[in-house]
Amino acid sequence: MKQAIRLLCVDDNELIAQALSRRVAREPGMAWSGWLAHGTELDESLRRDPVDVVLLDVDLPGEDAFELLRRTAEAFPEVRVLMFSGHVRADYIDRAIECGAWGYVSKNDGTDDVMKAVAQAHAGELALSPDARLTHNERR
């Protein structure tokens, strides 16, 4: 049996994180690795507890999520980081990919789309949720 995809969420929104943990728990092939409210904890968390995929909120208060993404992608190349946001902008998507993201997931897309994006990134595909894909495609 394949190893379950270990998923970590970095989001200051506790509602999302807790709901996501419940959803992931019942998603076959996925395992919840936990939640961080601050990006500053990410590096240490990944060292302590390796994961496969990270959902990283773009709007972390007081932090530059793209800079955090860049550092994380360099330090942990095996970890596939997906940007996770209610803000879906073509320039954000480009910047995310440039900084090492494996995709961009819109919080305005369906929950299944989130699960699918996580699985896609883990499978080695660039993962854009429908909303993000629509926004990105126009700039292809």
Partner: protein, 648 residues
């Protein structure tokens, strides 16, 4: 003049004594007495002078009084000169009476002085009056002659057409201006019917003449007919002339050429109509502009609202929906499952609205992409599967896109959003229509120098009422239930089209379908987006970095390339390679089959026809490289003879 002051009296008698008697009796400054002694002498005197009266002795030798009188009467000049016969024989009076009446009298000798003076005085007075009347008559005739000449001169000199005609329409006189106007020779004969168009003549002879009879004059706009057959518009007056008994003698008509006035009036009317239509047009434009402004205001407000709301709603809805997922999988009792389903429905609606709202947000990145354009046939190939999914099953979506259209100056994503919304609406409108269809058309818009493209989304579905047509672009306006529609779709279409400087028109009728017509500016030159080659091409991405590989794969797929994991198939059309030997491998690959494209990743140069992209290139650079490589297939290299290449 003596004749004017004195009456000349001729005395004819052979006896000198009689002469003395007459002179004594008629000695008066009013008379000038001329004495002669015979008939022939009298005739000579009458030849030279005019006399008020002749006193003629009947009994004279040689030529008697009667003979003399006969000869006097025979002369025209003195045929009416009064003659008084003088005789001593009463029996001769009968002959005198029988001789002639009129200016003839007689006296019996011996003469009674008082009687002679009275008779001569009467004739002298008569003579003076006659002279006076003759003089007055001559003066009047002369005056009338002057008047007539003056009038004739005036008539000939006036620039108006003047003619006199009788009740039968025969022209008795026409002035020079009239003849000139008609183009008539000076001596040519003309009838009134001949110098007016039949309709004008008809009006003149019926209405005009009748009115002139009643009121004395009649006037209106009419026309004359030139000899060459052209009509001359005139302002015409008819005056009726009657004799003292009130019988109509003739008519005068005066006509003035109003060609210039009429032309000026027509030009003025044309000008005024032009002005009126211009005012109407400008008013309509102003109204349309105001409507657009109002709409734009609303859209901007919605955009501002949406930017923040879209984000917040995502953050709230995502956890709700995640929890719903969990609840739905928890095997709840039926009643609870129903509650959950209701919450799900509401959250789905909110999700759609949030996504719709988000598209209103003024995205600087999208604005930066406004210089991008869409090439329609390629765009259609790419989006048609996506659009076909937007309509209910069984409703065909067909396209009629003219070939050779210039690119549309609207970014593909905006365009896709707009058309997607329209197609989705069209599909919904057809849901209950037997044999419903949706059609997407694109052609060059008429006018505007062929610079605009007309994109239509048509359906034969339910159609729209005038009210819906008027309001459908307003944000949050919807005819569907809130569970199905956010009322943002058409507002988005409008925003997208307006942003690129285009316009939207709707033709629709309830029960007869709807056509949305987008007039969009074209972009004639420069690289256009949507230059996607056919989607059946296959490719490989041989790049070690998994994430770069994933991204390039994603971009290629967006261009319709079917990306395989590995391979060296002969049907491969696109290859992305890296490494030290990639230039040689690319050259070999490109020469292996026509129409192939090669992208070299992480190298500075490659063989002709290959596109290079440096390591760690930006997503934009990678997209550009893919676009160039796919677009350059089969195309010539640039002017420097080098392959088109993109270097991050």
């Amino acid at each position: 003049m003596p004749s004017a002051s004195k009456a000349r009296v001729l005395i004819v008698d052979d006896l000198p004594a009689k002469h003395l008697v007459y002179r004594a009796i008629l000695d008066n400054p009013e008379f000038e007495l001329v004495s002669v002694r015979s008939g022939p002498e009298a005739l000579r005197a009458l030849l030279d002078q005019e006399f008020a009266v002749v006193l003629l002795d009947v009994n004279m030798p040689d030529m008697d009084g009667f003979e003399t009188a006969r000869m006097i009467r025979a002369r025209k000049k003195c045929a009416h000169t009064p003659i008084i016969f003088v005789t001593a024989h009463a029996d001769e009076l009968h002959a005198v009476r029988g001789y002639a009446y009129g200016a003839v009298d007689y006296m019996l000798a011996p003469i009674v002085p008082e009687v002679l003076r009275t008779k001569v005085g009467v004739f002298a007075e008569l003579y003076r009056r006659e002279q006076q009347i003759t003089r007055q008559a001559r003066d009047r005739v002369a005056h009338a002659e002057v008047q007539r000449a003056y009038l004739a001169e005036t008539l000939e000199a006036t620039t108006d057409f003047v003619a006199r005609f009788d009740i039968e329409g025969r022209v008795q006189y026409m002035n020079r201006a009239g003849r000139d106007l008609l183009g008539l020779a000076p001596d040519a004969a003309i009838s009134l019917a001949g110098c007016m168009p039949p309709w004008a003549y008809e009006v003149l002879m019926s209405e005009g003449v009748r009115a002139a009879h009643e009121r004395g004059t009649w006037s209106r706009e009419s026309a004359l007919l030139r000899v060459d057959g052209t009509e001359v518009p005139v302002s015409q007056v008819v005056v009726v002339h009657r004799d003292p008994a009130g019988r109509v003698e003739f008519y005068t008509t005066i006509a003035r050429d109003i060609t210039d006035a009429k032309r000026a009036a027509e030009e003025l009317a044309v000008h005024r109509r032009g002005l009126e239509s211009l005012v109407q047009q400008r008013t309509a434009e102003l109204e349309a502009s105001n409507r657009r402004l109002r709409l734009a205001d609303r859209m901007a407000a919605v955009g501002t609202l949406a930017a923040g709301l879209g984000h917040d709603m995502g953050n709230l809805l995502m956890p709700i929906r995640l929890r719903l997922d969990v609840l739905e999988g928890a095997g709840l009792p039926a009643a609870s499952a129903e509650d959950v389903a209701a919450i799900r429905k509401a959250s789905d609606y909110l999700q759609r609205m949030t996504r719709g709202l988000r598209l209103f947000a003024l995205d600087p990145a999208s604005a930066a992409g406004l210089d991008e354009s869409t090439r329609l046939p390629a765009w259609w190939e790419e989006v048609s599967p996506f659009l076909r999914n937007a309509v209910p099953k069984g409703v065909p979506v067909e396209a009629r896109i003219d070939s050779g259209l210039p690119a549309v100056a609207i970014p593909p994503h905006r365009f896709t959003q707009a058309v997607y919304n329209l197609v989705q609406n069209a599909g919904e409108a057809c849901r209950d229509t037997q044999g419903g269809w949706v059609r997407v058309t694109a052609s060059l818009a008429p006018g505007a120098g062929g610079r605009n493209i007309l994109v239509g989304v048509h359906d034969n579905g339910a159609g729209m009422t005038a009210e819906v047509r008027r309001r459908c672009f307003e944000p949050f306006y919807t005819t569907k239930s809130r569970g199905l529609s956010t009322g943002l779709g058409l507002a988005l279409v409008h925003a997208a089209v307006a942003q690129c400087g285009g316009s939207v028109e709707i033709t629709s009728e309830p029960g007869r379908g709807t056509s949305f017509l987008l007039t969009l500016p074209s972009r004639p030159a420069g690289p256009a987006r949507g230059s996607t080659p056919p989607a059946t091409r296959r490719g490989v991405v041989q790049v070690k970095d998994a994430r770069v590989r994933a991204y390039i794969t994603s971009v290629l797929r967006n261009h319709g390339v079917e990306v395989r994991a590995m391979g060296n198939d002969p049907d491969l059309a696109v290859a992305v390679m890296e490494g030290a030997t990639c230039a040689e491998r690319a050259a070999e690959f490109l020469s292996g089959a026509p129409g192939r494209a090669a992208i070299l990743y992480g190298v500075a140069s490659g063989p002709p026809g290959a596109v290079t992209v440096p390591e760690r290139a930006s997503p934009a650079a990678i997209r550009e490289a893919v676009r160039t490589a796919l677009g350059a297939q089969g195309e010539q290299t640039n002017e420097a003879g080098h392959p088109a290449a993109v270097c991050g």
